[in-house]
Structure formats: C-alpha cells, structure tokens
Amino acid sequence: MTKNSKNIGLAKSEFEDLFKTYFVGLSAFAQKYVKDIDSAKEIVHDVFVNLWNKRATIDPKKSLKSYLFTAVKNRCLNKIRDDKKFDTSIEDLDTVSNQFKAEDQDHLELAELEQKIHSILMQLPEKCRAVFILSRYEGKKYKEISQELNIAQKTVETHISKALKALRLGLGNYLKLCITAFIIWLNKG
C-alpha cells in the first residue's frame, strides 16, 4: 500500500468524534480493572493523548476501537502491577495477565452496555435523567428523591417510567443480539 499523506492522519474533528464515542465505554472498561473511577478516567485520557500524539500515522478508515480497548487494558494492568510494591516477581506478572484473559471479554461487553445506557440517558431531559440515576444507581427511594429535588412523588414515577421506556427502546436490539444468557443468569440472582 503506497503511503499517501492525504489518506492517513487523524484530523481533530475525527479525533473528537472518537473521543466522544468511546470515552464512557473505555472508562467503564478500565473501572473493571482499576476499581477507582478517577484512575480509570485518567488512564483513558492518557490513551487518547497518546493517540493524538501519533495521529499523523493513523489511518482513519481503520477501526480504532480494538486498539483503544487494548491500550486501556494494558495500561490498567501496568497500573495494577506498579501499585503493588516494587518486589513483584516476574511470576506474579504472568499470573496477573493470565487471570484477566478469561474475564476480558465479559468486561468488554459490560462496558459497551454501560456506554449504550449512558448515551440513551443523555438524550433525556436533565431532570428525568437525574431522577433515574438517583433511583437506579444511588438506590434512593421515591420519597427520598421527591424530598431531595422538591418535586411530587408522582413526578418521580413519571420520570423513571420515561427513562425506562427510552432504555427499553434503545436497548431493544441489544437484548436480542447478545444478552439472552446474561439475562437468564440475572433472573436467577
């Protein structure tokens, strides 16, 4: 393949799209390894900055998704290893990487689901989204939410319904494609 400088190289706008598309999924993915959300986000930031620095050699037509997830995973493993004290032996390193291999795919799928949920919720009106997050992810009762935000409990119910409707619509295809076994497992729990 002849190298034509017009065909490779990532423009700022393409980079921005890439960032906005994958940032949440990559952060969710990183969080599975490093646990702490701030460390996870920092790793994702670093990966993107690094990508930006190499942008002249990137072919924008090729999918960067797997590169991004692999890069994030590697940095996560490095961080875990570095956070252990200096006397980590080579043996330990191998154990760490091998252990994760089996879980990587699960983590990836889950992270993609979280990304999808995030983008669906982002399209809701801010109040609706906020109420849903308080209920679903902070485990707050309807009464607590209505007091906290100073709205009627009925309004809380309406917001949550609206959010779930949007999620059902948006995750519809997702359900059919790859989560059947996952849901059966969840139902058992």
Binding site: E16, F23, Q31, I37, E114, I160, S161, L164, R168, L186
Partner: protein, 332 residues
C-alpha cells in the same frame, strides 16, 4: 401501556400493598401480560449493570479537559528537543533556540483574577502562551503571567521544570522570574528547568543566548551571559554563581532516557528525581561524589535504582523512607 408505571413501581419495590395486589391480578390475567412484564423486567435488570460514576460522566467536560492538553500542530509532527522543526512557527521567524535548565524552589499560586496560572498537576503539560511561545511543563511545575503579558514585555514566573520555545519578538523581551534569578531571553527559544525544594538553580543553554541575573549576598547584582553549550549553577544557600560543564542528561526528565558515565551520585540523583518525581536525599557527603555509571531507556524508577544497586554489588542502597528515598553506602 397504562400499567407501565405500576410494573416499574413493583420492580423498584415501591408499590404499596394495594398496588401489589392490583399488579398480581393483572399479571395473572394473560400470557400477554406476563410477556410484557418479562420484557420490561429484562430492561430493568440490564439497566442496573452500571454505576453512578459512569452514568454521571459529562462528555463535554471530559472533552474540554483533554482538548486543553493537545498540541495543535496542524502538520502532526512530533517535536523532539534535538531536532526541533519550526514549521508552524516559521512565519514568526525564529532565529535561534535556547535551552535553559533552571532549578526553582517555591510554589507560586496567585489567585488574583488578572493572573493566569498554568499548573501541570497530573503530568507533563504542553501549552501555548498568548504570544505564540510554547512551553512544556514537567509534573507539578507552574507558570504564572498577568494580563500585562505581551504589552511591553513578556514577563512570567516559573516554578518547576519547563522547556520554552519562545516566539521571536525583539520589541518585547521575554523574562522569566525563577525565584532567585531572572532569565532574559536574548535569542528566541529556550528551556528552563526548575525542580521544587532544590537549593540549586541550574541554567543550561543549548542554542542561542540568555542573560541570567541574580543578587549577591551584599545586595549587588550579578549578571552572567550564557551562550550555546554553557551552563551556570546558582546556589541558593551561598548565593553564589558558578559555571559548570553540561551533562547530556538534562533532558531526561522528559525523555526518561539517560546515560551516566562516572557521573557524581548527586547529579544522577538530581536527574532521577526530576524524571520520576521522587525526592532523593543523600545523607552522607562521601556518597554524594561516588562516580556512577548507569543507563536507562524509558524504564521505571524501581528498575533503574535496582540496576544501580546491582552494578555496585549492593554497596550502594536506595532506601525508601515514607515519601522519599535515601541513598546509603560507599564506593571505592
């Protein structure tokens, strides 16, 4: 679906006794109802597979954050210190390049509204000043300037390590206040190093010309002009200035690549400290001058110190004490 709200209330365990009964009756009515419930329950279960930290991520804010870290070079070239290409600055007619290494001790954090502060909190930070000068700050370094910057002169205050690539403008001299010394740029671009808590101020000129001003103990002013290949060290404790030879590892803080051949331990320690952000103390005077030969190529701090210990048969040891390292031992 009228029963939607009811189903969700049931799933969220918010239904009261009466509502529960209504729901269970509805559910038992038909298979169709059971299917609707299952489908909604699936969504409900799926939606739970996330966390507030992830769902609260603000993409626009994250984009703004990273955008500030990106160098906007339309030709996408990676600038290296030794092979600097000035493609995007050629129109500013950059004539020479000065690289200065300077050590600075105090933190300056001004909260006045007319002051701009660039602080490299998380790591190496590239930024551009309003006059087109580009700077590269090492972790924890900060640069401060007011809105007077670029009016008649270009005055900045620096703490920490930084490289400067100063836009050419003979009408407006570029001056850096580095705590105890002032650096005036006589050429066009230069680099300044200024580690925290160091009692040395170090200025190295790679290309071009700078004037370094300091005050002697008796209050009189001391001016030194440096040209390419020259280095000066200012000792804060004794207020003395002396010329010294350049060590080729002054860039190690940025590249993490270095090569020491019989270099005195205190210099190796200083360069390692700049590169890896660990405070390193040498309690014993004798250890300070031990000649050290070691190379490093983008490796971690632990690997490097292990290598040094290994090379000297463990007669030199790096001991970790809470947040800093101490070098103990002796050499032949």
């Amino acid at each position: 679906m009228e029963n939607f709200d009811l189903i969700i209330k049931y799933l969220n365990n918010e239904a009261n006794a009466e509502e529960k009964k209504t729901f269970e009756l509805w559910l038992a009515e038909s298979n169709e109802n059971q299917k609707q419930f299952d489908s909604l329950k699936q969504t409900w279960l799926l939606s739970n597979q996330s966390s507030k930290e992830i769902q609260n991520i603000n993409i626009e804010a994250e984009w703004s954050k990273i955008n500030a870290h990106l160098k906007d070079n339309t030709q996408g070239k990676i600038k290296s210190i030794s092979n600097k290409t000035y493609s995007r600055k050629s129109f500013l007619q950059i004539a020479a390049s000065i690289i200065i290494l300077l050590s600075i001790g105090t933190v300056l954090l001004s909260r006045e509204s007319q002051t701009s502060i660039i602080f490299a909190e998380k790591g190496i930070l590239d930024q551009e000043l309003p006059d087109g000068t580009s700077i590269c700050l090492n972790k924890n370094a900060s640069l401060e300037y007011t809105q007077e910057f670029n009016k008649n002169e270009r005055f900045v205050k620096l703490q920490g390590d930084a490289n400067f690539d100063v836009a050419h403008n003979p009408e407006k001299p570029f001056i850096i206040d580095a705590g105890n010394i002032n650096i005036k740029v006589l050429g066009t671009s230069f680099m300044v190093h200024a580690p925290k808590n160091s009692k040395y101020r170090e200025v190295i000129v790679e290309k071009g010309k700078v004037e370094v001003k300091s005050k002697n103990k008796d209050g009189s002013e001391n001016k030194v002009i440096l040209v390419k290949g020259q280095k000066v060290i200012f000792d804060v404790e004794t207020n003395s200035v002396r010329r010294a030879a350049i060590d080729q590892n002054y860039n190690a803080w940025r590249t993490k690549i270095f090569r020491f051949v019989d270099a005195p331990m205190h210099l190796v320690a200083r360069r390692l400290s700049q590169a890896y952000h660990h405070e390193i103390i040498i309690p014993n005077q004798k250890t300070m001058n031990c000649p050290i030969t070691v190379e490093g190529n983008k490796e971690s701090f632990e690997v490097i110190i292990d290598r040094i210990e290994e090379n000297y048969n463990r007669e030199i040891l790096f001991k970790k004490k809470s947040d800093r390292y101490e070098i103990h031992g002796s050499c032949r």
